[in-house]
């Protein structure tokens, strides 16, 4: 129990003096996860919009597939990306295994289906509301898609935050493709796993606290966006 309390005190000390190792790990975590979320939005929003608005054969099957991909186990994604990027793999020539780029790719594969599936729901619901009015006004398809994405922007920002929550908290994929190399690919979740196994509870706890604060910040962000959108009567 004493160890536990001492670990907490040390953790707060690390945070208070802005330990450089700690900041480096937090910085890399944010860089990797934010990059993955931005890439996922570029991939997921158009797919979500196409599935939400379009009516084409196989659409329902695609929706089921995208929804199923939301639950991809991170370690499996990590393993597949590892196989592709390892020297013997088809993309081995890129030599990006054990780099932040590989971690961004793995997290993008995890997050893009979440963004696509949730944005399909958001855009689809809004489309159901606007469709007849748009048809009456003879709105061209491209203008309609742009208008739907713009009018759903607050809900889509919430979708992006949900994706960020998934990316920043996962450990399975980044540890396999990143390798948890100090000063290169060590992020918060992999560091917590390593430091805990080494018995260095203070650093693990400090990182854990930051992760919890980030999770809270993401939730607060969602709540603020939701209330902003209600103020604008977007709900």
């Amino acid at each position: 129990m004493q160890d536990f309390a001492a670990a907490f005190i040390e953790a707060f000390n690390l945070l208070a003096r802005a330990d450089s190792d700690l900041l480096e790990i937090v910085g890399l975590s944010l860089r990797v996860s934010l990059s993955a979320v931005i890439l996922s939005c570029f991939i997921g929003f158009p797919i979500g919009a196409a599935l939400g608005i379009g009516r084409f054969p196989g659409r329902q099957t695609l929706i089921v597939c995208v929804n199923a991909l939301m639950g991809l186990p991170p370690v499996v994604v990590g393993l597949i990306v590892y196989l592709f990027l390892s020297n013997a793999g088809p993309l081995g020539w890129m030599e990006i295994l054990y780099s932040p780029t590989a971690m961004i790719i793995a997290q993008t594969i995890l997050v893009a289906p979440i963004v696509a599936a949730l944005s399909r729901q958001v855009v689809g619901d809004l489309h159901a509301e606007y469709a007849e009015q748009f048809r009456s006004l003879s709105v061209p398809t491209r203008t309609a898609v742009a208008a739907l994405l713009w009018d759903a922007r607050h809900s889509l920002a919430t979708v992006a935050l949900a994706g960020f929550g998934r990316a920043i908290a996962e450990v399975g994929a980044v540890i396999i493709v990143g390798g948890n190399i100090d000063h290169l690919t060590r992020v918060m979740t992999t560091a917590i796993a390593l430091e805990t196994s080494k018995g260095n509870l203070a650093l693990a706890l400090a990182l854990g606290l930051i992760l919890i604060v980030l999770a809270l910040a993401v939730n607060a962000g969602v709540a603020i966006l939701r209330s902003a959108s209600e103020r604008h009567a977007d709900a």
Binding site: Q133, R135, L137, A147, A233, D234
Partner: protein, 237 residues
């Protein structure tokens, strides 16, 4: 200059869904310069007829001829519709009008402000459209429709959920649009409203058009027993 939509001629128009004939063998002639009121009890097929005319749904059989043209994207481009429940874009009041103006290739804040003042919403321009009252939303919806400068304006019971003041405001705007040369086709089951607005009445019952007569004649001497019952305030079903 786009080709004229009127006179329009509708023959043997039929719409079926779920094995039921919801609009049955409708024949109509629509002329320029009149306010045409489509009346009838609930479920008569009034809103469906409006959607068929506007090209929002495809008929099961029959013909619609707008001038010399069949309904298409082009004919719909010259028409506009106000729905019973206004669909407000999640934007400001002004941005709702701007959206319609841009669709017709205009980016004109002067025109937008003029349209908003025509419907009495100039002071709400920056407000989110969805925070307007029901009556204000319907006025904005009407203003947005008029911003496209339609030759034909369809209105599907636009005052069904509105108080008398809002109803009067909508009717005034419709009269102004009519005087400016827009053909008005208005669905309502409000007899008082029809008396105030209509030049001619199309009476529908169970998917059939029972009569298309000048309003004065319809209210004095309706041809069908169903219309007589309807005007007498009896329950028609």
């Amino acid at each position: 200059m786009p080709e004229a939509l009127l006179p329009a001629s509708i023959s043997r128009l039929t719409f079926e869904a779920g094995g039921r004939r919801l609009v049955n063998d409708a024949h109509l002639e629509l002329q320029l310069g009149t306010i045409t009121m489509i009346m009838g009890p609930n479920g008569a097929g009034k809103s469906l007829l409006l959607r068929l005319l506007h090209g929002l749904i495809e008929p099961s059989a029959g013909n619609i001829q707008w001038g010399t043209r069949a309904p298409s994207e082009d004919t719909r481009y010259q028409q506009a519709m106000v729905f019973q429940r206004p669909v407000m874009l999640r934007r400001s009041v002004a941005a709702n009008i701007d959206f319609a103006l841009r669709l017709r290739g205009k980016k004109d804040t002067v025109a937008r402000d003029r349209i908003l003042s025509t419907v009495g919403l100039q002071d709400c321009a920056k407000q989110p459209a969805r925070l307007l009252s029901g009556g204000e939303q319907q006025r904005l919806s009407l203003a947005r429709a008029l911003a496209t400068e339609p030759d034909v304006l369809f209105l599907d019971e636009p005052t069904a959920h509105l108080d008398p003041a809002s109803t009067a405001a909508i009717e005034d705007i419709v009269r102004v649009a009519h005087r400016a040369g827009t053909k008005i086709i208005f669905v309502s089951h409000d007899i008082g409203q029809a008396r105030r607005l209509a030049d001619e009445v199309i009476f529908m019952h169970r998917g059939r058009i029972l009569e298309q007569t000048p309003a004065s004649q319809f209210f004095k001497d309706p041809k069908s027993p169903e219309a007589t019952q309807f005007l007498a305030g009896e329950l028609v079903f």
